[in-house]
C-alpha cells in the first residue's frame, strides 16, 4: 500500500484536483467568506474619500494572472464608480494595456459614467522608473494622450489632475514585482503617495512587511482578496464563486501533503531498518 502511494502516478493527483474544482463549480457550493483587515483597510480608505476625488488603478498584470486580478479590479472599480470617484487607469506592463482598457470600460458602462469626466484610461508607456518619476511631476509629460489617442488635455477630469498631489490613492493590481520594486520605492518613498495593492497569491507573502510598516494602505491577497472585496461592496462576482473550489482544493492539498509525508517517512524507516539487519 505504502509502496503504491510512493509510486503513484502524478496524473491521479491532477485528476483529483480537477474533480475538486469541477464538482463545487457545477454544484455552485458557497462557503462563508470572512474579510481580513488588510482588505478592509483598502475598502475603508476608498469609502472615506469624497465624491470627485481621484483614484489611480494600475493594471500591472497580463492574461496569465487575469483569473486572480480581474475580479479584484472589477470589485475596486465598482466601489470607485459607486462612490462617484474619478478613476485613472494605466499600466506598467505592455500586456496589461488592452486588458485594463477593456475592463475599465465594461465596469464603467454599468454605471452612469462618462469617459473623460469620470474615468480616463492612459494605457502603457515603456520605462517603469521614468514613468513613475515623471508622473510625480507632470502626468501629461509622460501620457500626453490617453490609450485611444485623445490628448489628455481634452478630458475635463484631467484639468485639475497634474501629478500625485491630486491623486488620493494608487491601487496597484500586480502580478510581478511592481509593488515593492516600483510603486513603493518611487511613488511612496519619493512622493509619499498613498498606495494599496491587490496581488496574485504567489507574491503576496513578500508584501506583508510593507503593510506592517504602513508603506501600503492595504493588501488584497489573490482570489481571496477579490472575494473579500466583493463581500464588502455586497456584489458577489467571480472571486466569491471561485473560493469554494479554492477551499476544497486546499483541503485536498493538505491531505496529500500529510499522506505523502507519512508514506515517505514510513518507507525511509523501513529502508533504514533493512540496512541495520
Amino acid at each position: 500500500m505504502i509502496e503504491k502511494l510512493m509510486s503513484l502516478d502524478r496524473r491521479y493527483v491532477f485528476a483529483l484536483v480537477g474533480l475538486a474544482v469541477i464538482i463545487p463549480t457545477l454544484l455552485m457550493i458557497r462557503f462563508p467568506i470572512y474579510v481580513s483587515q488588510p482588505t478592509q483597510n483598502i475598502y475603508d480608505f476608498i469609502e472615506g474619500l469624497s465624491e470627485g476625488e481621484v483614484v489611480m488603478i494600475a493594471f500591472d498584470y497580463g492574461p496569465s494572472s487575469l483569473a486572480e486580478l480581474n475580479p479584484m479590479a472589477i470589485a475596486v472599480l465598482r466601489h470607485c464608480f459607486r462612490k462617484r470617484l474619478r478613476v485613472i487607469g494605466m499600466t506598467l506592463w505592455p500586456v496589461g494595456a488592452t486588458l485594463g482598457d477593456t475592463l475599465m470600460r465594461e465596469v464603467a458602462h454599468e454605471f452612469d459614467t462618462t469617459e473623460g469626466e469620470d474615468y480616463v484610461y492612459l494605457g502603457y508607456r515603456p520605462g517603469v522608473t521614468n514613468v513613475l518619476l515623471q508622473m510625480g511631476e507632470d502626468i501629461s509629460a509622460v501620457f500626453a494622450e490617453d490609450y485611444s489617442g485623445t490628448p489628455i488635455s481634452e478630458h475635463p477630469m484631467m484639468a485639475d489632475v497634474k501629478n500625485y498631489n491630486d491623486i488620493a490613492l494608487v491601487v496597484d493590481l500586480a502580478a510581478g514585482a511592481s509593488v515593492e520594486g516600483a510603486w513603493i520605492p518611487y511613488t511612496y518613498t519619493g512622493y509619499k503617495q498613498k498606495i494599496a495593492a491587490g496581488v496574485t497569491g504567489v507574491i503576496v507573502s513578500q508584501l506583508y512587511p510593507y503593510l506592517q510598516t504602513g508603506q501600503l494602505v492595504g493588501l488584497m491577497p489573490g482570489l481571496l482578496g477579490a472575494a473579500e472585496y466583493e463581500k464588502l461592496i455586497e456584489q458577489p462576482g467571480k472571486g466569491t464563486a471561485g473560493m469554494s473550489a479554492q477551499s476544497i482544493v486546499h483541503l485536498l492539498v493538505i491531505v496529500l501533503v500529510i499522506v505523502g509525508n507519512v508514506a515517505y517517512f514510513t518507507t525511509r524507516r523501513r529502508e533504514q531498518n533493512a540496512e541495520v539487519y
Partner: protein, 217 residues
C-alpha cells in the same frame, strides 16, 4: 453551448494546454508556441505605438516639419542615437559601442534605485520592526507579543544569513530558530502559491463549463 467562434478557439487552446497534464504532445506545443509568439508580437507592437512613436518618431518628425522648434530635433536625437547603439551588437567590429548605452542605463538605474531601495526595504523595515517598542505602553498584550515575536524572528533569521561566524553554540541555536521562522515563511508562500495556481484552474474550468458549454451560469 457557445456559438461564438472566439470562445471555441479559446476552449480548444485551453484543452491543448491542459493536455500536457497527461503528457507532452504536439497540441500542447502548438498552443504554447502560439501564446509566446502572440505575447511577444503584441509587446513589440505596443512598445512601438506607445513608446517609440510618441517619444522618438513624433518629436523628430515635428521638428523637421516645423511644428516644433529645431532644437528639439537635436535634444530628441541624443537619446535616440544612444538607444541605437544597442544595435551595434549586431556588427562585431563596432560591438564595443554597446558599452555606452549599457553604462548609461546601469548608472541611471543604480542612481535612482539604490537610495530608494535602502529607504524602502531597509530603513523603513527596521523602523517598522522597532517602532512598536517606542509606544509599548499603549499596546495590548497581543500586540506586544506580536512585536516581540517579530523582533526575535528578524534577529534569528538575519543571524542564519550571517556567515562570518561559525554556526555553533548560541549563534547555532539562534540560527536554528531562524530556520524555523524561514520555514514558516516558506509555508505561507507555498499556501499562497497553491491559491494562485488553483485560481487559474478555477477560472479556466469556469470558462469551459460556463462560457463554452453553458452548463453553469
Amino acid at each position: 453551448m457557445s456559438t461564438d467562434i472566439g470562445v471555441w478557439i479559446a476552449a480548444f487552446l485551453t484543452l491543448c494546454i491542459f493536455s500536457f497534464l497527461y503528457k507532452d504532445n504536439p497540441f500542447y506545443k502548438f498552443a504554447e508556441h502560439l501564446f509566446v509568439g502572440v505575447s511577444v508580437g503584441y509587446g513589440i507592437v505596443l512598445t512601438i505605438h506607445q513608446g517609440i512613436i510618441p517619444f522618438a518618431w513624433q518629436p523628430l518628425k515635428n521638428s523637421i516639419t516645423g511644428e516644433a522648434p529645431l532644437w528639439r530635433f537635436f535634444v530628441t536625437l541624443i537619446p535616440v542615437g544612444v538607444g541605437f547603439l544597442f544595435f551595434s551588437r549586431l556588427m562585431p567590429r563596432y560591438s564595443w559601442l554597446i558599452r555606452y548605452p549599457i553604462a548609461i542605463l546601469i548608472g541611471m538605474g543604480a542612481g535612482f534605485a539604490i537610495p530608494r531601495a535602502m529607504e524602502t526595504s531597509i530603513f523603513e523595515q527596521m523602523n517598522g520592526t522597532l517602532r512598536p517598542f517606542g509606544v509599548i505602553n499603549s499596546l495590548s498584550a497581543g500586540e506586544i507579543i506580536g512585536a516581540v515575536l517579530m523582533l526575535i524572528g528578524v534577529v534569528c533569521t538575519l543571524t542564519y544569513f550571517f556567515f562570518s561566524v561559525e554556526h555553533k553554540g548560541i549563534v547555532g541555536g539562534i540560527s536554528k530558530l531562524g530556520i524555523i521562522f524561514l520555514m514558516i515563511g516558506f509555508g505561507s508562500a507555498f499556501g499562497n502559491t497553491v491559491m494562485g495556481r488553483v485560481s487559474l484552474l478555477i477560472q479556466r474550468v469556469d470558462f469551459l463549463l460556463g462560457d463554452w458549454l453553458g452548463i453553469v451560469g
